[in-house]
Symmetry: C2
Subunit: 136 residues, 2 copies
DNA sequence: AGAACAGTTGAACAGATGTGCAAGTGTTCT
DNA sequence: AGAACACTTGCACATCTGTTCAACTGTTCT
């Protein structure tokens, strides 16, 4: 059982920090679930589409060049996290963002994305000794 | 080839919307990747821990009751998205949030999570006909 | 009622991802 | 130099998730 070996490295060495988390497990679960729903480009695209106004499934499908089933499944995920809501309108069902709040989330991520090129976490440390070229 | 069948449902029926997305593919990719990194509770917990100040891997491992390897892998994911940064301090390596910006993201999600109970997207439609009990 | 349209849902598959173990790298201490 | 500590990385395995096809539900039109 992976119990961590208590190291000689005490919190005080760095700062006074690392007492137990202030966030409750439930909130964490929800947040993680929301992030997971947002973690796929196709779903993000749907939100982008919906940010311009409500659309029915067929419309989204046409815009994305996908079939209804696929779009419906994606919407299902988004709906499960209350990111979008739906409303019947005769034969079709219109989807729309649950609230503008959600766009903040996406814009925030987008903003962070632009700040750093992200990716394979390369050169960033001061590199104290600056060894010669790394192979990988 | 799942080409969508163009329906009789034209955009104008709902609103004037659904022209092509205003967001570029690259940004979407990044955003999705960031969200994916945030989509697991264990990683969220690490961020929560780091929000209280820098910690070394051993410290995080001890706090979470996990082994170094596991924590290291999680940090790797977070680092790949530039959510955390590291800095050597002698024998240990201190990790810290890349910037406070990130907490906004999490708090935003947390906020949204509290707003709605989320989950299995149940009763929400006005239920026009309110048919009797659904079997499933 | 029956046909056609609009979506949803279930199941099967493939690809992606987290976890944990073992082995490897970089630092400090003796 | 060698030993011990602090991490990181490669791998294998089990799990999860997205996509797609087929079948089913709900609406509107004739």
């Amino acid at each position: 059982m992976a119990r961590a070996t208590k190291p000689d490295c005490k919190p005080a060495d760095h700062r006074g920090a690392a007492r137990h988390l202030p966030v409750n497990p439930e909130a964490m679960d929800r947040a993680a679930a929301i992030f997971r729903a947002l973690s796929e480009v196709p779903r993000l695209r749907i939100l982008a589409l919906l940010s311009q106004g409500p659309s029915c499934v067929s419309e989204l499908a046409a815009a994305e060049g996908e079939d209804l089933s696929t779009i419906s499944q994606r919407l299902r995920v988004l709906r499960a996290e209350r990111l979008v809501k739906r409303q019947r309108a005769g034969k079709h069902i219109n989807y729309s963002l649950a609230d503008q709040h959600i766009l903040d989330l996406v814009f925030n991520a987008l903003a962070h994305a632009s700040e750093a090129p992200a990716a394979a976490a390369a050169a960033s440390e001061p590199s104290p000794s600056a060894k010669k070229g790394k192979s990988r």
